[in-house]
């Protein structure tokens, strides 16, 4: 039981810090003062954080499967929340990657919209996470 709880807890640590970074990174780039001049650094942080979110999310499933041979049982509400969360994470990862690849060609307004989009996706993912947690 100790190893199982430790595996879940360590995965949760990565997941929690990833969640903090995807939202905090995007918001802090925009507010209270604009730091979009350092947008690439923020985008790297957000890209890595989304990657950590996706990997640790998958690791929850792997841990469950390893210990019990099955995946979590989710209600329809929780399953919907999971789909929303995965979609937000994928979109956030891709948006950060596209910004890093092509962002230099974008104007200030485009960069600002990108970070607003990243903040919105992070908010959506964190909101879905709450429903996933408590409707399962």
């Amino acid at each position: 039981m100790g190893a199982e709880n430790l595996a879940y807890a360590l995965t949760q640590v990565v997941h929690n810090f990833g969640a903090a970074a995807v939202l905090g990174g995007a918001v802090f780039a925009l507010w209270p003062a604009s730091r979009l001049g350092d947008g690439r650094q923020f985008a790297w942080l957000i890209l890595l954080a989304w990657g950590a979110q996706i990997l640790s999310g998958g690791l929850f499933g792997v841990t469950s499967f390893y210990y019990y041979g099955e995946m979590p049982d989710l209600s329809s509400v929780a399953m919907t929340a999971l789909v929303v969360k995965v979609a937000a994470a994928t979109a956030g990862f891709l948006l950060a990657a596209v910004y890093l690849a092509r962002g230099k060609e974008w104007g200030h307004a485009g960069v600002k919209r990108s970070f607003q989009g990243l903040a919105a996706l992070a908010t959506l993912a964190l909101t879905a996470a709450a429903f996933l947690r408590w409707f399962s």
Binding site: Y67, Y68, P72, D73, L74
Partner: protein, 142 residues
Amino acid sequence: MDRSSLNGSDIVRESGFTLKRKINKETIVNQKHFLATLALGFFLAVPATSFGQGKALIISPTDGATLDPLDEIRLSYEVNPGPRGDHAHLYIDGKEVAILRKRKGDYLLETLSSGKRSLCVKVVNKAHVPIGIGQCIQVTVK
């Protein structure tokens, strides 16, 4: 820092004076192997066996009971999640319909259509994974 090796021991010279620190390399290597083995064993040990204590009981309706859909049908249960479990899920015909957070209580079963129905209460962990403790019954709804 100047290091010289003398038959498995190190003499470390620092800042103009010599610290004779005897380090048995073999012991360190053995300790590292021991810790690595211990850590690996910790992670791999007891994956799906010995789920330990815990129970889930469906007190009513009883297995094989015939139920009248016009009556209020309540499922009465008692759950002890044990060391690995956290709460329980209720399933009708394999579909999760409720989360049972109380250890003992009852749940109003709504809209049970006629025919044979399977009712299950399963203990799950914090990640909502069934941990192998549960009870299922069959009832017939008129």
